[in-house]
């Protein structure tokens, strides 16, 4: 029974991080109809920024104030997003999808090198935040408390996002723009501003995902590309452009991966990709997507 709880925690942990990445990806797609291949690298950027803030600037410090550094990565990535959207992506909304994918693929290559240039080729981490919190005992087992914090952040982010999009005025404008950009513009919505805001929120989530991951695992080169593929699986399962879908997809992928890792470790990744392929076959728009 206790081992079951541990597995459940692990699944939720994985799902929380995945939701932060995939939620941003799907939000951006839902509003702008653009699939951002560089999204995984934004996640990695958040991880590297937080890790270097904690273990670089404040190396050796044990203060509890260090936890305030967690959002550093998220804020940095959000700022980058706010710059990228109007400068690089805006000219592409009217162009065919091939070009949109290619320009974000180019961005992916550039960001990969930016990380290499700024932080060098070696992994860095912020383990002090992870160790400081200690462990909680679950029956005969112990579980790191920090992981519970990550789960909490993931669910809080989902809740905030839901409230933001379905309960605020800005959310209404966002959904209107997503459904019909032209009509929203005709009704006086500043579409460009909405796009910048949506992209910034999406980037903030990716950066936050990277930031909360980095105390428990190191930030390494290439982590962005791996994360992007997993986020793709999540949004394909849940439905591209649907936040509920990203939430459900993250849970499904988190649980399936945990089962896969403990039963057939060799097929862990293959199972996830196959799930995505099967969902696309049965429900092309994903579990929560709207068939258009």
């Amino acid at each position: 029974m206790d081992i079951f709880v541990i597995h459940l925690f692990n699944a939720l942990l994985y799902a929380s991080v995945l939701f932060l990445i995939a939620g941003g990806l799907t939000l951006i797609y839902g509003v702008m109809r653009i699939v951002n291949l560089a999204h995984g690298n934004l996640f990695a950027l958040g991880a590297f920024a937080t890790a270097s803030a904690v273990s670089g600037w404040f190396a050796g410090s044990q203060s509890a104030w260090l936890y305030l550094l967690l959002p550093v990565g998220a804020l940095l990535v959000a700022a980058i997003g706010a710059i990228l959207e109007p400068t690089l992506l805006r000219p592409f909304y009217r162009r065919p999808e091939e070009y949109q994918l290619l320009v974000t693929f180019g961005l992916l290559m550039i960001l990969e090198d930016v990380i290499r240039f700024v932080w060098g080729p070696y992994p860095i981490s912020a383990t002090v935040l992870f160790e400081k919190m200690g462990q909680v005992s679950v029956g005969d087992y112990v579980y790191p408390k920090y992981n519970l914090l990550v789960i909490g952040v993931g669910f809080a982010a989902a809740l905030f996002l839901y409230a933001f999009i379905y309960r605020t005025r800005f959310g209404v404008v966002l959904r209107a723009t997503s459904q019909d950009m032209r009509r929203a513009a005709a009704l006086g919505v500043n579409v460009n501003a909405v796009y910048v805001e949506a992209f910034t929120i999406g980037c903030f989530m990716a950066g936050l995902g990277g930031a909360i991951v980095v105390p428990s695992q190191s930030a390494v080169l290439g982590m962005g590309v791996d994360a992007l593929i997993l986020a793709f699986i999540v949004v394909v399962v849940g439905g591209l452009g649907s936040l509920e879908g990203a939430f459900a997809g993250a849970l499904i992928v988190g649980i399936v991966r945990e089962i896969g890792v403990s039963l057939v470790p060799e097929l862990e990744l293959a199972i996830l990709y196959l799930i995505a392929a099967i969902v696309l076959l049965v429900r092309p728009a994903g579990l929560f997507g709207k068939t258009t």
Partner: protein, 337 residues
């Protein structure tokens, strides 16, 4: 096939002649290249020709059928791993058998993937091809006792038409001469086959599907079947390229089927121009030289390539060949005035 408009053979003859005006000098350049260039550059050129075969296959989908695949590295890797498996488990050394096996293997994989993928278009097609190719990648990555994992599998130089490399011969000399010509012949054969496919009624029908699906269906084209055949041909071409690539590289790793490599195939094709038959060929050769130069020049070659890609998509969306054609017509108009 019967429903597509057939162009009378008389009308096609000048087109072949017009193509030959360009093709013959380029072919002569390619034939004399090993005597002019040093071994390193010749091998680089051979890499470029191999990628050109992959690009040709890829472009049948992107340029002619209007489907953007982000999983073509999967077929490339299937071709490459087939060769490696033949060496390791069947102990074959003949390049011809390698190619046959790679064709067979890529047919099998393309049929399975194609059956699933051609139901979708646009972004869903891209994501689905990406996901399926990553299934192959993860299998190659995880089943290390079969595939060698990230260490990959070593492949010695093969026998070409039954002739093995001489004991005394240097490997790079072999690759830059005998093997270069082997690749060149395969390349020319692939270009010829693709040219025929693209200019056949089948090729015209694909373009009709790309330009207007509804109208194409109205004139009786079975869209899904045509897309499936295009997918199959495309996958086989890329599989052949994968097999040809192995002796050059000498090592097959999961990197040959990772999705970022699929992105590079897209890059090459767009660099050359995907609305032209010759675009992917020019793009692949050029990309290969460009990347090699950038890698040798700086560790930050990805930034270099990424910036080029972004500029390319922003300023020259028709690629090298498309831009040259534009310049050419513009210059001719100026001259006529």
């Amino acid at each position: 096939m019967t429903t597509a408009t057939t162009v009378p053979a008389v009308l096609q003859a000048p087109k072949i002649l017009k193509g030959a005006i360009w093709a013959v000098p380029i072919l002569i350049v390619l034939v004399v290249a090993p005597w002019v260039l040093d071994e390193y550059r010749t091998i680089e050129l051979a890499y470029g020709l191999v990628f050109a075969v992959a690009g040709l296959g890829f472009n049948l989908l992107l340029g002619y059928t209007g489907l953007l695949s982000f999983g073509h590295a999967g077929f490339f890797g299937v071709g490459a791993y087939t060769v490696a498996f033949m060496v390791k488990y069947v102990h074959v050394e003949s390049m011809e058998l390698f190619l046959l096996a790679a064709i067979a293997a890529s047919i099998v994989v393309s049929v399975v993937f194609g059956y699933v993928c051609v139901r979708y278009t646009k972004i869903f097609f891209s994501i689905l091809t990406l996901a399926l190719s990553q299934v192959l990648w993860s299998l190659a990555f995880k089943f290390f006792w079969i595939t060698g994992g990230t260490d990959g599998l070593r492949v010695p130089t093969p026998r070409l038409l039954g002739v093995a490399m001489a004991e005394s011969e240097d490997k790079s000399h072999f690759l830059a001469h005998q093997y270069y010509y082997y690749v060149l012949v395969a390349f020319v054969a692939c270009v010829a086959v693709m040219w025929v496919i693209v200019h056949s009624p089948f090729g015209k029908a694909l373009q009709a599907v790309r330009d207007n699906e509804t109208r194409a269906r109205f004139v009786g084209i079975q869209i899904r079947r045509y897309r499936f055949v295009a997918f199959l041909v495309s996958g086989v071409f890329t599989g052949i390229a994968g097999a040809l690539w192995v002796p050059l590289n000498g090592l097959v790793t999961p990197d040959s089927m990772v999705w970022t490599f699929s992105g590079e195939i897209v890059f090459m094709t767009v660099l050359g121009g995907f609305r032209n038959f010759t675009g992917p060929i020019v793009g692949s050769v050029f990309y290969n030289f460009l990347k090699d130069y950038a890698v040798g020049y700086t560790v930050y070659w990805q930034t270099f390539m990424g910036v080029i890609l972004v500029i390319l998509v922003l300023v020259l969306p028709t690629g090298i060949v498309g831009s040259i054609k534009l310049l050419w017509t513009w210059a001719r108009r100026r001259m006529a005035r």
